[in-house]
C-alpha cells in the first residue's frame, strides 16, 4: 500500500510539474531573471501548491498514524545552522545556472531528454559525494584503515 501510495503521489506530483510548465528550464530561468523580462509563473505554482498542501499538513499534523496506518514521519528538525544556509545557497547556484531542480529534472528524464539524463547523473553523483563525506565523518575509524 505504501509503495502504491508513493507511486501515485510521485505521478500526481510529476503531472503537476508538467502542467505548471516547471519542467521547462527556460521558464524557470525566466522566473529567476529579475534583471531581464520577468516571468512570475513560478510564484503562482508555489501559491497553488501551498494553498492545497497546507490543508493536508494541517490534518496530518494531528494524526499519529497515516490514513493507511503508516507511522507519521514528518520532519521535526528546528535548528537553523550553517549547513542549512550554505547547502541551500549551493543548491540555488546550481538551480540558477541550468534552471533544473531535482523534481523537474526527473520528469524531463522521463521525456527522454538526454540533457536531463546528464543533469540527473551529475546530481546523483553530487548526492553520492555527500553520502561518502557524511559516512567518513560518522565513522572516523575508517579514515585510518
Amino acid at each position: 500500500m505504501l509503495v502504491l501510495a508513493s507511486l501515485l503521489s510521485g505521478l500526481v506530483f510529476g503531472l503537476g510539474l508538467i502542467a505548471s510548465g516547471m519542467t521547462n528550464p527556460a521558464k524557470v530561468l525566466g522566473f529567476l531573471d529579475l534583471g531581464g523580462t520577468w516571468d512570475p509563473s513560478l510564484a503562482f505554482v508555489m501559491a497553488g501548491a501551498i494553498a492545497v498542501a497546507s490543508v493536508g499538513f494541517a490534518i496530518s499534523r494531528k494524526r499519529t498514524t497515516s490514513l493507511i496506518g503508516a507511522a507519521m514521519k514528518l520532519p521535526t528538525a528546528q535548528h537553523i545552522d550553517r549547513r542549512l544556509v550554505v547547502g541551500s545557497a549551493v543548491f540555488g547556484v546550481g538551480w540558477g545556472i541550468a534552471g533544473f531542480c531535482p523534481g523537474p529534472a526527473l520528469v524531463a528524464l522521463g521525456l527522454g531528454e538526454i540533457k536531463a539524463l546528464v543533469f540527473v547523473a551529475a546530481m546523483l553523483a553530487g548526492m553520492g559525494i555527500f553520502e561518502l563525506i557524511e559516512r567518513r565523518k560518522s565513522t572516523p575509524s575508517l579514515r585510518s584503515a
Binding site: L2, V3, L4, S6, L7, L8, S9, G10, G14, L17, I18, S20, T23, L32, D33, L34, G35, G36, T37, P40, S41, F44, V45, M46, A49, I50, A51, V52, A53, G56, F57, I59, R63, L74, P75, A77, R83, L84, G87, S88, V90, F91, G94, G96, I97, G99, F100, C101, G110, L111, E113, K115, A116, F119, M123, G126, M127, I129, F130, E131
Partner: protein
C-alpha cells in the same frame, strides 16, 4: 524589472501548482512523510536504509508522469539551453547542495512553507536569492 507578459502563464501555473499541492498532501496523509524529492532520491543512495521500495516508486511516478500526461494532452518539450558541461556542474551543485541543505524546491519550498517551518523558510529564501543572483551574474554581468 519588466514583466514578460507573453511568457507569463498564471492559470496553468496555478492549476499545476494545485496538482503539486494535492500530491504533497496525499503523500503526507498516506505515507506520513514530506514529498521532498531530493531527500527521497538521496535516501536511495544509503544502502542500509531498508526503505528503497517506496522511494523508488515515488521516483518512478515522477519519471512516468510524461507517459500518463501524453494520454490526455501533448507534453510540452522542455527548452534546455545549458550545454553539457554546465549541466554537469549544475547537477553536482544541486546534488550536494540539496543534501547539505536537507531539501529542495519541493521539500523546503512546497512542503516546508506549507508546514510553516521557519527552517524551510530560511532555506527557501536562501536558494531563491542564490538563484536570482546567479541568473543575474550569468545573464547580465557576464553576458552568457
Amino acid at each position: 524589472m519588466t514583466i514578460d507578459w507573453s511568457a507569463f502563464t498564471p492559470w496553468s501555473a496555478l492549476s499545476g501548482g494545485v496538482l503539486i499541492g494535492v500530491a504533497a498532501a496525499m503523500f503526507a496523509l498516506l505515507n506520513g512523510r514530506v514529498a521532498g524529492i531530493s531527500g527521497i532520491v538521496g535516501g536511495l543512495l544509503k544502502p542500509a536504509s531498508g526503505d528503497i521500495a517506496w522511494r523508488a516508486a515515488f521516483v518512478l511516478g515522477l519519471v512516468g508522469a510524461p507517459l500518463v500526461y501524453a494520454l490526455v494532452a501533448t507534453v510540452p518539450r522542455p527548452r534546455i539551453d545549458a550545454g553539457y558541461a554546465t549541466l554537469v556542474l549544475a547537477g553536482l551543485l544541486v546534488g550536494i547542495g540539496t543534501r547539505y541543505g536537507a531539501g529542495c524546491t519541493s521539500g523546503h519550498g512546497v512542503c516546508g512553507l506549507s508546514r510553516l517551518s521557519p527552517r524551510s523558510l530560511v532555506a527557501t529564501l536562501t536558494f531563491m536569492a542564490a538563484g536570482f543572483v546567479t541568473v543575474f551574474l550569468v545573464r547580465h554581468l557576464f553576458g552568457f
